[in-house]
Amino acid sequence: MLENETNLTEETAAAMRELARTVTYAPPLRLAPRPEERALRRAPRRWPLWAAPLTAMAAVIVLAVSLVVIRDIPNGRVAPPARPSPAADGGGPASASPGRTAVTTAPTVAHTRAGTPPTTTVPATAPATNTAPTPTTSITFVPMQTATGGEFLTPSGNIECQIDSQAGLAGAYCQTTTPARSVTMNAAGRYTVCTGLQCLANAGDGTPTLFYGTETGVGPFRCETARTGVTCTADGRGFLISSSGITPVPA
């Protein structure tokens, strides 16, 4: 019986191999579903019932997060901030001579190019004419380095001045190394005085010397050198800077 069963299994295996050997090739591979399989395929799967509320909840969360993020973004400036002018800083009478009329009474802190030391602003005298100073025949007018401004030193080297007439940057600046003191004036003739080493700035290399008795300037600014000091004006008023101090012009 066992022998018969063994023979049967061997014969069965041999019959299977013989049948299998009738297959000697395979048709080309089709990497696409057969047409009947495509037909049997289900329709596209529908969204599950919970998908819609879940999607809506996710959308609300995204919207809320977006609003929070947008709210925290700082607003960008459309235009750069205006450069604070000495006049805008206000000021009160400080080193002004007696008889001057102050526009404002409280002293304020003004920015200078050497930092932010405490300064006082001196208003120009009023009323004043709006005519720009013109060089006189007895004084030699020397143009500045560029059409928008420049800088100069006095022959003693103790006074250094800079003038800039560019829009937004317009101003005249002068300093005395001894004593350490500087003055900044805007195009309206209002100026701010700063006292101390922190008010000083080094003159640039190659800064030209403006001899006594000469005048320079651009735009509304005019500066005249003399042995008594440098007088800078704008709009008919300004200051006289010398080693003895800074005084308003006209006195």
Partner: protein, 188 residues
């Protein structure tokens, strides 16, 4: 486990469908070239129909192609395809059984299995055996194919059929006994 009679067939170049992943296409095509004939042979033994066997194998490789990116270990691709072929054969047999019940057309012959010339070379005795195998229940036939054609061990057969080793043993034993009975019926 080695597949018996593995041929590298000469079925020619395989056209690459447009828009398909080239890496998967090359890999699956190479696997098909190496294993298509043995797989068709398995399916033929299970189904007794050459065209149906080819369809089952095509579907199995197409399923492999679709699953290729998710296949954790491409080295198991052959086992995956063989499992898919067996599953496809079971599905095909179920469909065939439904058709048979509906049509009452149960007449079937191994002559349908392949080319007439090739099948004609099979001896009469072995053709009777194959007919008997064909009359076995699907699971018993599958067990015989695994154990005696693929020469799988009981453990390998158990994994392939997703049954226990004991069930493999009993199923195979019942299949052989049934074969003996069927073959004995024809002898007076």
């Amino acid at each position: 486990m080695d597949l018996v009679d593995i041929d590298t067939n000469a079925s020619g170049p395989h056209p690459q469908p447009p828009g398909c992943d080239t890496g998967a296409t090359h890999s699956v095509t190479a696997l098909y070239d190496a294993h298509a004939v043995p797989m068709i042979r398995i399916a033929l033994l299970m189904l007794g129909d050459r065209a149906a066997a080819e369809d089952v194998v095509q579907d199995a490789f197409f399923a492999l192609y679709r699953r290729w990116p998710k296949l954790m270990d491409p080295a198991n691709a052959e086992a995956y395809v063989r499992s898919a072929v067996f599953n496809g054969c079971r599905d095909a047999l179920r469909r065939q059984a439904r058709r048979d019940r509906r049509d009452r057309a149960t007449a079937w012959s191994w002559q349908d299995a392949g080319s007439a010339e090739a099948v004609a070379l099979i001896g009469e005795d072995r053709r009777r055996i194959l007919d008997a195998v064909r009359r076995l229940p699907d699971r018993q036939r599958e067990a015989l194919v695994c154990r005696y054609y693929l020469e799988m061990s009981e453990a390998e057969t158990a994994r392939a059929m997703n049954i226990s080793r004991g069930t493999v043993k009993s199923t195979t034993s019942r299949a052989v006994a049934a074969l003996g009975r069927i073959l004995g019926e024809g002898q007076c």
